[in-house]
Symmetry: C2
Subunit: 325 residues, 2 copies
């Protein structure tokens, strides 16, 4: 790993990201194959993606079934696993789902919370002192507790889901008030605010506090709303998608990782746009194979190539034209 301690990189070398979220085993069936048990969970997908940019610490619970093989997937990418909490006698969170033919619809077949059901995040001093904090999709009370423990964080982002909008909306809104960035599926953003357009929903959330809103749009990409303006980026175009599970968390990991690697800069303007591109590129690798399979062997060069291609497929040059009255 290691960067050289010269010039501005010395400063960046002490930056770090803490992610708090689920660590899971997933069973996934898509029209193109299936896996009965593979490493998953929001914190895992996030951490692997963010590991290309900065030091990452994972906070989340696992059971006795979480073994050396799983730890090694994270450690081989330099992810710090010391704050993964092993619950003796417990079983790791398990999720099973099946995707429809075009991979846009998915059905949850089984959810076994196991140790995740009793999760009370315990942050080490190192996790607490993170420069950048990502609160993956967990119960909003817990997200708020974690956020309050990380007083030094320069940038705090969070995800959530329809379940918490339905069952814990007041708490979710309190949590949103305390973060810099909300990342949410765009349907959930509308559901949260009752506003019919992405823009009106994003502006309503910004009035609560967050300065950065990222609406995840699945295969259509993602939208960024800030005080500076708007930015839209499509998903990286793929001929074949095998398994979308974890795409949103991989995107978040790339996005937040990029921001963390520039945490000495104001996260605004072109920095956030580039962060979107890196998140999008990494997410596209995630969905090309099952679970973490593809990202485990992902290289820096492959990521950079896709960021370049994203620029090509979104760029257009305007030219004056004489329109008719």
């Amino acid at each position: 790993m290691g960067r050289e301690d010269t010039g501005p990189l010395r400063f960046r070398a002490v930056m770090s990201v803490t992610v708090v979220g689920s660590i899971a085993f997933d069973a996934v069936k898509t029209p193109f194959g299936e896996r009965e048990r593979m490493l998953g969970g929001s914190a895992v997908h996030f951490a692997l993606a963010a590991s290309f940019f900065d030091d990452v610490r994972v906070v989340g619970p696992v059971g006795d079934d979480f073994g050396e093989e799983e730890y090694e997937v994270l450690r081989s990418r330099g992810v710090e696993t010391a704050d993964i909490e092993h619950v003796p006698g417990g079983k790791t969170f398990f999720w099973a789902g099946e995707y429809g033919w075009n991979l846009n619809d998915r059905e949850t077949l089984d959810t076994q919370l196991n140790v995740f059901g009793e999760f009370q995040p315990k942050l080490s001093d190192e996790s607490r002192s993170a420069d950048v904090l990502f609160l993956a999709n967990i119960q909003p009370d817990l997200q708020r507790e974690v956020r309050e423990q990380c007083a030094e964080a320069r940038f705090v982002a969070m995800d959530s889901m329809n379940l918490w909008i339905d069952t814990a909306k007041d708490s979710l809104i309190e949590t949103i008030k305390g973060v810099d960035c909300l990342m949410l599926n765009d349907d959930e953003l509308r559901m949260l605010t009752g506003r019919p357009t992405l823009l009106s929903a994003a502006h309503e959330v910004m009035a609560l506090g967050p300065k950065v809103i990222v609406a995840k749009q699945g295969e259509y990409g993602a939208a960024l709303v800030t005080e500076d303006g708007l930015f839209f980026l499509p998903a990286y175009p793929l001929e074949i998608v095998l398994d979308p599970t974890g795409a949103g968390d991989s995107f978040a990991g790339g996005f937040i990782g990029y921001i963390a690697a520039h945490a000495h800069d104001e996260p605004a303007g072109q920095l956030l746009r580039r962060a979107m591109a890196y998140g999008t590129a990494i997410a596209s690798f995630n969905v090309e194979e099952f679970g973490t399979e593809r990202v485990q062997r992902l290289t820096r060069e492959e990521i950079v190539d896709r960021v370049d291609e994203l620029q090509r497929v979104t760029h257009f040059e305007n030219a004056p034209i004489e329109l008719r009255a």
Copy 2:
């Protein structure tokens, strides 16, 4: 209207677009209002949008209820209405629909084909000699008949819909083989080909003949697939959308109109990308009010401003970053 006959504009002044499609009265209800009877139909929305770029001739049937007021909407934008076929004793095509709260789902409440049910396109010599032809969404046998009459057209594009994929797929595929450009909702593109991703579906259609595929993605914008590569453009971001009816046809009108105004150039690369931007800009005005209300008073300056803004909200500058192994 008239452009000055000097320089390259002389050549462009003889370009023209013919559109064959529906002319309708629409009743539309959205969460933000309703109209019991307003001018609509694919050929109308298309023609108004295309009229900013070039001469446009509309071919389609109307009944006795189609009056001077409706003709005037088209003529006031310079659209040639001589090939609108008035069927004595008939009634104009009528469609009624209602949109859900976020305007993405719509339900058809009533469809009265009326004169459109017996429509047999009759093209004048002028319509037949169009440089650019747009076959709006009508029965694919009819589209093919029209296409064969327009042997001189340098660029032919078509739309279609799920109804024809379900009921006349073989004919639809024959029609697709004879055009340069297929514009279709992206779900329909997948439905037509049975391919799960936009890219695989587009490539399958290109193997039939068309060199340009435009996948319309509603509020997420549109994707362009050609042999030169891919291009993605979001919808123009709006705080408020009142009525999405006609957005796809307005987009097509702007897109095809722009191409027609440059019909002496090869429709490829940046030309097609700019055409997407003009179509997107005009479609965004269409949805801000009901039916044709907004586009009727649209100005050139407003279109150009939104094309510029589309460039701003999609542009990002890459910058080298040192990623971790």
